[in-house]
Symmetry: C2
Subunit: 241 residues, 2 copies
């Protein structure tokens, strides 16, 4: 929980303070129900004015991470990050089972398109080959935790989009096509700021950080069956290999 004000670098002090406090909460240093230090103490710790600290706390309150109570103090409301295990047999819903009471996957939209060079390379297709593209959003206990775009070979899964909207689970849809098992071939992980659409859909404060995963799944014969670009809010999820 340390921040210096001397260099702004285009990121406002109140935002850096909010990020630092949020990190202590989602990282587990501050547990749910804990009382935060007083505004005066935080101001001293961050070498900032109390008003600046108050703005940071207001942002965190807006996110539902903390809640202030007049005369009593400011308290931690939300829980720590969810962990998404990534390995050879990676299953989104299985991996998060037990970490959240509810896990809802929405299918936002879908279309048939021609594979770009990147998508074709990932799926082992010729550039321009027909692919199904679906946009999805996953929500755990009411908090959005993943925004994903998935491409699949049209030849293998012509009506994937219709089925995923019904079944929610990718694993279940693959099973409906007769694919009883599949494996993760590769996962590429990077990080960046959320754009405006992601900020809105994931319910994030502008400027939030996303973990970005590019994953290719293959069937038991090592044929690529899906290429997924998933974006996880770093403040709500961590990836465990």
């Amino acid at each position: 929980m340390t921040v210096s004000k001397d260099v702004s670098g285009g990121v406002a002090l109140w935002r850096r303070i909010a990020d630092a406090i949020r990190l202590d909460i989602v990282g587990g240093k501050l547990a749910s129900g804990d009382r935060l230090p007083t505004e005066a103490l935080l101001a001293e710790r961050f070498s900032a004015n109390r008003h600046t600290v108050r703005r940071a706390l207001a942002v965190l309150a807006e996110e539902g991470v903390v809640g202030a109570e007049q005369g009593r103090g400011t308290f931690v409301r939300s829980a720590r990050r969810l962990s998404y295990p990534i390995g050879r047999r990676t299953r989104f819903r299985e991996g998060l089972r037990g970490q959240a009471a509810s896990l809802v996957s929405q299918s936002l939209s879908h279309r048939i398109e021609n594979a770009t060079a990147a998508v074709a390379a990932a799926l082992g297709l010729k550039p321009g080959a027909k692919v199904v593209r679906t946009e999805g959003l996953s929500i755990a206990d009411g908090r959005p935790i993943s925004r994903s775009t998935t491409w699949l070979p049209y030849r293998l899964f012509p009506d994937f989009a219709e089925r995923i909207a019904q079944l929610q689970s990718t694993t279940a849809v693959f099973a409906s096509y007769g694919i009883d098992d599949y494996a993760r071939a590769s996962t590429r992980i990077s990080a960046r700021h959320a754009d405006v659409e992601e900020t809105k859909l994931l319910g994030l404060a502008p400027g939030a950080i996303l973990l970005v995963s590019e994953a290719v799944d293959v069937d038991s014969a090592a044929i690529p069956i899906s290429y997924a670009l998933s974006r996880f809010p770093a403040e709500r999820m961590e990836l465990v290999v």
Copy 2:
């Protein structure tokens, strides 16, 4: 390369524009030597004033990512991201071999300390047990790519710090202790903003994004031998599982 200005959210427009352009460069959309669109075109694309775009370009030039040439245009200078492969047999130097001409690992400092609860849990020790802690920095082709903190059981590696300063390679130091093979037991990946010390050591612009990896390595008998907390600038590195 899209940014909207309607909501600032504590991150200045010039910084968001700089981040967006840098993302296109390190993500491979713009290759080394490519010419960027003119300042006027960029200003139009980002719905910003040309002065604001110029400030973003000035920051990128300072980082060495682009270079402006009077009357000719602005050109991409730096290369794309390095990929660090993570798996059961993860070796930092081997993984990056071929991606950079030079890879230097510095040992910044070291000390003997008592394990915190988190460190003890990771290494399977009793809280308070003696551990060796070393701080390191790795630089590829002159650009810092990793800032790491490593804890090891003092009982097994009493003078690890002295040896790593000599040998640079962790694998080589383990070999010097008679450990001919070791494996990655777990890797936990998250992301956050760089703090002031990291910003300085890694030569980043304030507010830069870090990929954070917490890794535990075990020997052939599955005994934990090291717990490493590594921070990679997201603009220079990606992790591949």
